[in-house]
Subunit: 303 residues, 4 copies
Amino acid sequence: MNVIYPLKGIIPPLVTPLSDTDRLDVAGVEKLIEHVIAGGVHGLYILGTTGESPSLSHRLKKELIARTCRLVKRRIPVLVGVSDSSFAESIELSEIAAMEGATAVVITPSFYFLQGQSELLEYLQHIVPRMPLPVFYYNIPIYTKVALEPATAVQMAEIRQIVGIKDSSSNLAYFKQVQYLLKHRTDFSFLLGTEEYLGEFVLTGGHGGIPCGANLFPRLFVDLYHAAVNRDIDKIRALQDKIMYISTTIYSTGLHPSSFLKGLKGTLSLLGICSDAMAEPFTPFRAAERDKLKTFLQQLKVV
Amino acid sequence: MNVIYPLKGIIPPLVTPLSDTDRLDVAGVEKLIEHVIAGGVHGLYILGTTGESPSLSHRLKKELIARTCRLVKRRIPVLVGVSDSSFAESIELSEIAAMEGATAVVITPSFYFLQGQSELLEYLQHIVPRMPLPVFYYNIPIYTKVALEPATAVQMAEIRQIVGIKDSSSNLAYFKQVQYLLKHRTDFSFLLGTEEYLGEFVLTGGHGGIPCGANLFPRLFVDLYHAAVNRDIDKIRALQDKIMYISTTIYSTGLHPSSFLKGLKGTLSLLGICSDAMAEPFTPFRAAERDKLKTFLQQLKVV
Amino acid sequence: MNVIYPLKGIIPPLVTPLSDTDRLDVAGVEKLIEHVIAGGVHGLYILGTTGESPSLSHRLKKELIARTCRLVKRRIPVLVGVSDSSFAESIELSEIAAMEGATAVVITPSFYFLQGQSELLEYLQHIVPRMPLPVFYYNIPIYTKVALEPATAVQMAEIRQIVGIKDSSSNLAYFKQVQYLLKHRTDFSFLLGTEEYLGEFVLTGGHGGIPCGANLFPRLFVDLYHAAVNRDIDKIRALQDKIMYISTTIYSTGLHPSSFLKGLKGTLSLLGICSDAMAEPFTPFRAAERDKLKTFLQQLKVV
Amino acid sequence: MNVIYPLKGIIPPLVTPLSDTDRLDVAGVEKLIEHVIAGGVHGLYILGTTGESPSLSHRLKKELIARTCRLVKRRIPVLVGVSDSSFAESIELSEIAAMEGATAVVITPSFYFLQGQSELLEYLQHIVPRMPLPVFYYNIPIYTKVALEPATAVQMAEIRQIVGIKDSSSNLAYFKQVQYLLKHRTDFSFLLGTEEYLGEFVLTGGHGGIPCGANLFPRLFVDLYHAAVNRDIDKIRALQDKIMYISTTIYSTGLHPSSFLKGLKGTLSLLGICSDAMAEPFTPFRAAERDKLKTFLQQLKVV
């Protein structure tokens, strides 16, 4: 597989199918991978936020990396999340990813302590060269508590091993500022973690997205990507409307910020793709919420 | 003047030209109004965040409402910000706005106390009917500390006197959710307070924007709006690129969140439109920052 | 009246008795003032957060200042909150306070915009000399969004007209740092806005407090103050226990952060001191919550 | 060793002496342990925030647990932090702690995702019974992003295996509310993570503290504890004054929130107790800051 940078297209952040809080749903992993590849996705990303990575044991993470790489068989790029609150654990995960044949790794800041911008920059300057693969930076301040400021992004981009950013800040003004300031890095990918405006983002120069909804409906997102590349605005609007339906129903079913994840896994289980088991601190939706998800799925057909 | 809802287009949030911390720069007000009208804007909005409204005395606010309405002479709609921490003061401002012939008023939540969603909704149910004009809701949680949640927006939209939302949350996913949930309100305007993705927003169904940069370069934003209505993607990208230049230079010159405002007023003064005097708690940029603004302005011509 | 600095003791932040959202409950104002003076308080503070100041019209604020000063007749010091998002309005309020014979004024930062520390310091350097009375600084970052950092407090204390701080940050480590750094200002009052640890605070060097519960039970807080001055630890513990009861019942009855205020006014009305009417954006508790307050009051007698 | 609940006294949260970002400074561990035991502390706590636990590799954590327990030889209780973003890893650490002879474990919420209160409660209900030791709950919302609300604390306290709370919220009003609501749990320890008001806290009913400064000056904190137990207010004030000096100098030397940790390790190295090496994402202070620490240490003698 010849990976061309900037990496482009739809790269689903896979959920981690579990049969138990600390056991992989092996059949689910395979089904899910084949489901998204059949949908035409341009890569896949395991062990991200959607993959509940911080909640998983190291043993299970290693198993998932190995199984995924072997199942994908280099048909598409595999990105592996290696974020950890511990520097040493992140490096070890990146080495396993390299050994198993992954394409690149994805890191956030170390996510317990509060870091100043200079500390974040130094952290990246220290950790990236220790990793044996290209690195994507993952900006998700709601969980990591530190946002990569535009000026820091400029300094970070001097590390040539960093080949892109996934932005889940929900702040498009911010992400466009970073993209504008880094336009000299022509090999650098700007990938969006927020699916509600993915079409618009690609239409005006974004490279693609890492939308969690592509676990459920990979073809929908691949079609959206192509519509954006082809500047088919009517199609973009129609597809984004479906995504807004998903966003305001499936992801908004429960009370807590974990809703999107519970809705995602619950719906995947209704679709017969994998179990809705979750790693602690979360638990699957109960019957009432599952019933809502069923109704949403039925209505989605006619949206 | 026959105002058609949903209100559409470019509606600059005017700065308040001051000759002193508590005195209107009367000549500046006139110049600024003629400058933006000459630029083809579709309305104007006074006494918003960009207008430093919370920093102004009641006396000065009243004077500005009166002067603006008389200068505009109904050539374009005039929206008047009437937010105040006090309910009674907001109502009084709305009455003055109506008396002077303004088109509509704009309100935020009362901005000192923390309000729950049910308290915010009740507040709107109480205050809106007391106002003699159509009302736009202004969502700017960074300053008001309360975000209008999508479910609350749905309930709010049952108040028919509310005819639109200006969103300055910087969260396009959120704003598209609200727009999706309110699509039955066909007279309702969705206006964007964030100019960095205004083209994309209009291209996929937004009604327009309230971009502070339109104080400086109204024609740029009017052109952007028309390019979006005409689906001219190359033009959108070229114009948004200029806006990204402005955003990453003029608005990013100082250290504090007030930078955008100081940069805006400083640049208006360099352009000869009005003084850069500010109301406390802010003060104009000093020489070093003003020199930077000069350089940015010169470079902007060749961007 | 000869006011000695540092000001010490119990200074209740009076609620503003209202008969309507924008009308003073004149009888209530008098009853409340006599109630707290009878309880032995060392001063009183009107137009603070507890006084719903930001929600009140300018007209009503002026009326309250005048009435309060005339009712108190210099028996005890009167502090007047003059915070406003507008510099000019704050100065005007301070002039009215001086004219009516108030002792000092209390200010927060301008509370809409976000201010950096240097902006906050400049604001104070500009506004304080314009005020005709001694000034207390009020630190309440939950509402103003800006915390006075210890290093800024040191610079602020060079303004000799500032004679104290009221801290409602709930962060005693912070307040003790500020007190430690300002120990050279021997005329400077450290007054606590949080009543749950007021006894401890006075015991180890604090000057007093501005506890909202002193509206209800002024004698309880005055006794606590004297117990602390006299180092009577058993008494402090017994009285703080009553305060903990109030804090975990009366102030914790509703769902929203406004609970303490609704509980306070509801209980004052049950005690026959003033109406429970509130200024928007808040409304009084409904019957269910009022019934809870009744039960809490009854149980308080046996706590 | 017979551990009596509620656990009381001074329990230093030990730094983790490192010779490298991922290597234990074995001699430093021993010196530090003997240093605090010689200072009279009532227990010690490893692998907390001060111990940089989230930054350490699993291998190193296990080594530290084993070495610490063997060095302490049951002279005093050993508390072991077992927080992790992963449930499974936390349980494994608790099993190792039990096997090595630790006294109890300390947990925070899983610290990447945002958890609602009901999710936090369920998490505790699931994880605590899986742990083979008594459990302390550690409230530190600045890092974990979730605060244990008083009502949730009441429900949590029904889990009898939980034997105490360490509070590092810096909010004494909150902690006293929790203590008031849990007074029926007579075996439950209330331990303070904030040293600036530790004397006051013990004086009015707190059980003790987990002050990071006790790494440096264990005797100072032990003396403070005894002064509080003996109600010696002059001594409390004198000792807290020293602590305020440390807090406003050693902990406040750098720019970022990591200052307290860099100041602590830098000072320990100046005292010859252990190296100042830190685990990523942090690095030791550079020469300029180290020189400041030296000066502070010299002045401390005369404070």
